[in-house]
């Protein structure tokens, strides 16, 4: 817990625009988990944050939102029960409901994968990526995080081509995930795929890319984003 709070505070101070927490303690067997950590994160964060993982019902989402998260992100449970998206949107509004999609390119086709939180269970779902992107929007999803599995952890850049294809059918905010390794990758994905946000984990955790440097670089390149926060030092 201390580690999460420390990291959350660090990213807050570095000027991150939003944080996503993947709750790996939310096990796939559906047993009750203690989510009070969300409340402690909300206590230190003054930027929006989203909680992903283990959200299978309106009640799960409600608990997380009441603890102070801005959004919840649903991945596999939405593939198992797409109507869950409609129920979440009806109860909390589109702006709270993010759909995470793990997409794998296989000889030019894009396939949605499920149970990606567990390597042994990861398998293709019955959905192709572009139809699924359309369906989740029709059901009211307010944002899509597209994780391009071919690029995940490779640090050779976002999947510009796939993201641009998804962008063309996505009218809600689209967040790129998977592949960030150096600063130009961020510039590329904003300029060429027209995404609304870029998500990264390892390059920020390791401080290989300091967020303030990245923001200064992107602003100089003409990408319109919130600059690093100079009030923090006062």
């Amino acid at each position: 817990m201390g580690d999460i709070l420390e990291l959350a505070s660090r990213y807050r101070d570095e000027g991150a625009d939003e944080l996503v927490f993947y709750d790996i303690t939310a096990s796939p067997d559906g047993r009750t988990v203690d989510r009070s950590w969300v409340n402690r994160v909300a206590e230190v964060l003054d930027i929006p944050f989203c909680v992903a993982g283990g959200i299978r019902s309106v009640a799960d989402a409600e608990e997380i939102l009441n603890f102070g998260a801005e959004k919840i992100s649903v991945n596999t449970p939405a593939l198992e029960d797409p109507d869950l998206i409609d129920r979440l949107v009806k109860r909390f509004g589109s702006q709270c409901v993010v759909i995470g999609i793990d997409s794998l390119e296989q000889s030019g086709n894009y396939q949605v994968y499920q149970y990606t939180g567990d390597v042994d269970r990861t398998e293709a779902s019955r959905y192709r990526t572009l139809p699924w992107v359309r369906e989740v929007q029709d059901r009211g999803a307010g944002e899509i995080v597209l994780n391009c599995m071919n690029r995940d952890g490779v640090r050779r850049g976002y999947d510009i081509v796939q993201l641009a294809k998804v962008r063309a059918v996505c009218d809600v905010p689209l967040i790129a995930s998977g592949g960030a390794g150096e600063m130009p990758h961020f510039r590329e994905v904003f300029e060429e795929s027209q995404v609304d946000g870029a998500l990264a984990a390892s390059v920020f955790h390791s401080a290989a890319i300091p967020i303030p440097d990245l923001k200064i670089y992107l602003i100089a390149a003409g990408v319109r984003i919130r600059p690093p926060d100079d009030r923090r030092s006062h």
Partner: protein, 198 residues
């Protein structure tokens, strides 16, 4: 801070983040659904999420419908709470608190501007207001909304989403922000701190 700030609790979820934001400023603000408690407060905050008509019925049911327009201490409406200060909203044609004589309208969808408008956007500061002290033109705030108030004499800052809309409003002792100060980093903290000093 010695002020006795109270959060009106009936129109929204996610009051935790607002209470935490105030606590970080040294202000322990109780969440109350008791009009008498709110009437006696030094500062009142009216947060809101969800739909306007639903929020108005919940306010009315708890006895706030008539009280809020008569308050004389500083009042801050946040997001939907700001929209409720207006006469009416196009959202389900809801009659609102009628403190500011204008109608809240829907944001128009555009291929490059999805609705809800969600994310960081820049403020353009107009008429001077103590609420925006130490906040600069072009600073970013965090917005989440599908409806917005047009620009008028009550507007103190605008933001642009295809069309300029009211981001900060002020009329007499009533203030409002369309964005979420509790999620707007140090800009939000500055604004809340300015409000508590009124």
């Amino acid at each position: 801070m010695s002020s006795d700030t109270v959060i009106i609790g009936c129109c929204g979820a996610n009051l935790a983040s607002l209470a935490f934001a105030l606590r970080r400023l040294g202000c322990e603000a109780p969440i109350s659904e008791d009009p008498e408690r709110v009437r006696l407060a030094s500062h009142v905050i009216l947060p809101g999420v969800g739909a306007a008509d639903d929020a108005m019925s919940r306010l009315a049911l708890a006895g706030f419908g008539e009280l809020v327009p008569t308050l004389t201490q500083p009042v801050l409406g946040i997001c939907l709470g700001m929209q409720l200060l207006f006469t009416a909203s196009d959202e389900d044609d809801a009659a609102c608190l009628d403190i500011i004589a204008e109608r809240v309208a829907a944001l128009q969808k555009h291929p490059e501007r999805p609705v809800p408008h969600m994310g960081w956007n820049q403020l353009e500061i107009g008429t001077d207001t103590p609420l925006l002290r130490n906040i600069a033109n072009g600073d970013y705030a965090y917005f989440v909304h599908s409806f917005a108030a047009p620009v008028g004499g009550y507007t103190r800052a605008t933001a642009d989403y295809g069309v300029a809309f009211s981001a900060v409003v002020e009329q007499d002792n009533f203030f409002g922000t369309q964005f979420h100060p509790e999620r707007s980093s140090t800009l939000g903290a500055t604004l809340l701190s300015n409000f508590l000093k009124l």
